[in-house]
Symmetry: C2
Subunit: 332 residues, 2 copies
């Protein structure tokens, strides 16, 4: 049996750098070896929303401290909200269009007390009025960079579903433009805090009635986006009047699937305009949500391909780390 101390020692002797995805509510860290393999991973519920600048270094050490060797300086490469203005230190947004292998150029180093730490915070991306309309992202650019690392010179439309879903148009490994849709937040507000809350329960897209209601709603919202706020109230009216709906828990589940379909369908009506015929959408994110988007896309006749969140983030941080290392060699 290997003791915890022996395990840590085995990590610290092989540790080349640390990859960190530090969001609004969580931090996830991976101990990386020189070949890009993951030696260990850890996480904590310590996100930007609950941290003052001085809290970041202790929060980081609590998660990765055991991995660090006694001597030497380890690069800790961080993407996400830790680099926001309200985060550890601001890594200013880089404007699009921009190359995804150049993110490291915008990294900033916060002051640290522990001499073993060389922390680099990666920047987010911003877009001006003329470049496609005001927009910002922070964290997703690293997932996009991961895609560029996994598929050199990647082009096409990429969707990162979530509270604020991002759609990026890539061309030969560059972000040409991107758009954020407030779909996830809108769904949650409507499902939890509107008059609809009493009509809804949790949906289950494995269930055929939910699946059908979801797909029909996607097609309906995409075909008539101008009716969106009308179809929202229609959910309440259906609950009162529609005898064809199932009773009890199943009724709320079908109505929730329909609301989800309406919200995602409205998003797709806006986002899929950039999709060339026959072109597939790459989806990066958590599995269940990506599968929901894949179903929505298929309801509109579009195909898609899912790339797991973790794989994309690690590849993106790896690409930035390679650029930093290369840059360091150049300057030696």
């Amino acid at each position: 049996m290997v003791s915890e101390a022996e395990m840590s020692e085995s990590i610290s002797t092989r540790l080349a750098w640390v990859a960190v995805d530090w969001g609004s509510s969580n931090l996830r860290a991976w101990a990386m070896d020189a070949g890009g393999a993951v030696l260990a991973e850890a996480e904590a519920a310590r996100g930007m929303l609950g941290l003052a600048p001085a809290d970041y270094e202790p929060a980081l050490l609590a998660v990765i401290g055991d991995w660090l060797p006694a001597e030497g300086r380890i690069t800790v490469l961080v993407c996400g909200m830790a680099g926001a203005r309200q985060g550890w230190r601001e890594a200013p947004y880089r404007p699009v269009p921009t190359a995804l292998d150049a993110l490291a150029e915008g990294a900033v180093s916060p002051a640290v007390e522990d001499a073993r730490l060389d922390v680099r915070l990666l920047p987010g991306l911003c877009q001006g009025a003329d470049a496609g309309g005001f927009d910002v992202m922070r964290g997703e650019e690293t997932q996009l960079a991961g895609l560029a690392a996994l598929e050199s010179g990647v082009s096409g439309l990429v969707c990162l579903p979530g509270t604020h879903a991002k759609w990026a148009t890539l061309d030969s490994g560059r972000v040409e433009r991107f758009h954020t849709y407030m779909t996830g937040e809108l769904y949650r507000l409507l499902a939890e805090r509107s008059v609809l809350a009493h009509s809804l329960s949790e949906d289950d897209l494995e269930d055929s009635a939910c699946r059908e209601a979801f797909s029909a709603a996607v097609a309906e919202a995409a075909a008539a986006p101008e009716a969106f706020t009308r179809t929202l109230f229609g959910l309440r009216a259906m609950d009162l009047l529609d005898d064809a709906l199932p009773d009890g828990e199943a009724r709320g589940a079908v109505l929730a699937a329909r609301l989800s379909g309406l919200a995602i369908g409205l998003e797709l009506a806006g986002a899929c305009g950039e999709l060339a015929a026959g072109q597939s959408v790459r989806l990066i994110g958590v599995e269940a949500l990506c599968r929901r988007y894949a179903l929505a896309l298929s309801a509109l006749g579009h195909s898609s391909e899912i790339i797991a969140n973790r794989r994309a983030v690690l590849a993106g941080l790896g690409l930035a780390h390679a650029a930093l290392a290369h840059d360091a060699l150049d300057h030696d």
Copy 2:
């Protein structure tokens, strides 16, 4: 000087019937004489959401008790949520298409203890899937009846802005179909509970910057309803990036005006499809909100005419009262 007792006596000797608009949060009552003039009016913050069935009669008497003569039976005609399933007693919805002068046919009488009261609760309207899509209204039908009373044989598109805005298509004094848009509730959720809350303050459409932002957003949402959830997040990005916006309080006001314009513009994109060229929209509701809608309609090149809430409700209750009185004569 006239004492309060003398005033009540003067009302009760001339009182012919009582008109009541009883909504989710308030009740408003008017003492009417035989010629249709208002002798007195009163209101209380006692709505359907805070009342059990047994609470309605005492709540009504607390407001109108002083008006009632010692003897005789007075008709109290009530529209609104008091007739909902969760209200005093259910007055079942009448399906559209339906004539607006026939609402009284669907009135129900709740049991009362005070022998002076003859309470009639007016029904709401419902719409089936085949008649224009599932929808319901309760209260607004009486405002529409008021319009039919003020303008015999009225036809055209009528909008009643609010938490759940109603659009009704009238033809010769009949409701052909109607649609509810969840605009007001959606705006409030986004303005108060979403990520946008920190970027917004209260708008003022008398201010030219707010007015311009509002009108531009109406036109933008109506022209590209599929971009709605994208333009929502765009408000956050504008707050972060747009140097052309004013600073301080004025910044939040302009962004709030823009959010309001986007939400109402999306509604108009759906609702104005039924509007024939050159046709005007009748707006019934509270003054400030109707003026906001009138501005939105004018941004899309449509004219409108505002009918005050109180005038429409009183005329609608008056029409129903006349029908009841006529019916009583027929049966005498």
